[in-house]
């Protein structure tokens, strides 16, 4: 607590929270939430049959809040390393605006309510999958893998890839190939996305003692792995078209974007020194966000905005 003016002489030290509502919104990692909502919406719209829009909206809201709860719990657990890293030291806990205990309570409350809400609004398979996603992100990724192995974001990436499966399950009560394909795309996208960032921020991660790939295996090896994952991702991105649940327009876009992804990854692999290397990694990181956003947005547009007939062609 930076502001201690509430304390009069001799008075007990009161744990007064100074946080504004926007600080609590920051705990939810809103930018991550927005990608979760988009991927969940894509998974939901791929579901066959009609879903009542109110049920769909409430389910999406529950998934978004569940993702936010995972973000808050992640910030609670990682407060020590967030305070060390330049990228994260402005977050509500390390900057002193919210205490760890408050963040823990907030995260647990939202996690419980989001799972219960999804179970009551949609079905308990979806709720179980959402609970598993939160558990996987916090316990498997944050508590275990993140500080233990350079494969942390490879395995942990499953948590970020699950929302389309949760949303599809909310709409249908089952899991299908379509939702698994979206899972696979996001899962394969995660390593090159995060390793591009890790190349830029390797000093930050080293100070915090996080065994990211560049800090453990070296930058050269990371560049090779980025290229390998990018080459695997590009054809995976085409699967929605190949399997018939996206149009030729999607197929063309996924092909072009996939080729660009590989080209940028190849440049990261070639440019290994100085400013050119950093620029290449930054461009790949920025493009990777655009890549996933455009693919998911096109699926949403085709299935949600009446362009689904294109998918049948």
């Amino acid at each position: 607590m930076s502001d201690l003016s509430y304390r009069l002489e001799g008075a007990p030290i009161a744990d007064v929270c100074n946080a504004s509502p926007s600080d609590f919104v920051q705990l939810l990692k809103p930018r991550v939430m927005s990608l979760v909502v988009l991927s969940a919406l894509a998974g939901m719209l791929l579901a066959p049959g009609h879903l009542n829009p109110v049920i769909g909206f409430a389910s999406l809201l529950a998934i978004a809040v569940g993702a936010g709860a995972a973000g808050a719990l992640n910030m609670w657990y990682d407060a020590d390393i967030d305070a060390i890293m330049i990228r994260t030291r402005g977050r509500p806990i390390p900057s002193g605006r919210i205490s760890r205990d408050v963040a823990l309570g907030f995260g647990l409350l939202l996690a419980g309510f989001s799972v219960l809400t999804l179970g009551l609004v949609a079905n308990w398979l979806a709720a179980s999958l959402l609970a598993f996603t939160i558990f996987f992100y916090i316990v498997v990724y944050s508590m275990w893998l993140k500080r233990a192995t350079p494969q942390n974001i490879v395995i942990g990436g499953a948590a970020g890839a699950l929302p389309p499966i949760v949303a599809y399950a909310a709409a249908t009560g089952s899991v299908s190939l379509a939702s698994i394909v979206l899972f696979a795309i996001i899962f394969m996208w995660t390593p090159p996305h995060f390793w591009a960032l890790a190349l830029i921020k390797s000093g930050d991660y080293a100070r915090a003692g996080i065994p990211m790939m560049p800090n453990v295996k070296g930058a050269h090896h990371t560049r090779l792995e980025i290229l390998i994952y990018s080459v695997l991702l590009a054809p995976l991105g085409l699967l929605p078209f190949a399997l018939g649940f996206a149009s030729i327009l999607y197929g063309v876009l996924a092909g072009v974007l996939g080729a660009l992804f590989v080209a940028l990854a190849a440049r990261v692999y070639r440019q290994r020194q100085g400013e050119a290397a950093e620029t290449a990694a930054k461009q790949l990181f920025a493009f990777s966000i655009l890549y996933l956003f455009l693919l998911l947005a096109l699926i949403v547009a085709e299935h949600g905005l009446g362009l689904a007939s294109l998918a049948a062609q």
Binding site: A14, D15, V16, I55, L61
Partner: protein, 59 residues
């Protein structure tokens, strides 16, 4: 916490600064809105799940 603080002699009470009062008020409003929207969401979902038949009953 407040109950304990309220029993303290006047000079020992915890007095919030204007900034703290402002942030507490903002948090209270946010919690109120969130709870209100949560209740509204459950009401609407309940009506949707019950279907149009919910209105088809003798008065």
């Amino acid at each position: 916490m407040s109950a304990i603080v309220d029993q303290e002699p006047l000079g020992r009470r915890v007095v919030l600064s204007p900034a703290q009062q402002k942030s507490r008020r903002a948090r209270n409003i946010a919690i109120g809105l969130a709870l209100g929207l949560f209740a509204l969401l459950f009401y609407i979902v309940t009506i949707v799940k019950l279907g149009p038949g919910v209105l088809n009953r003798p008065l």
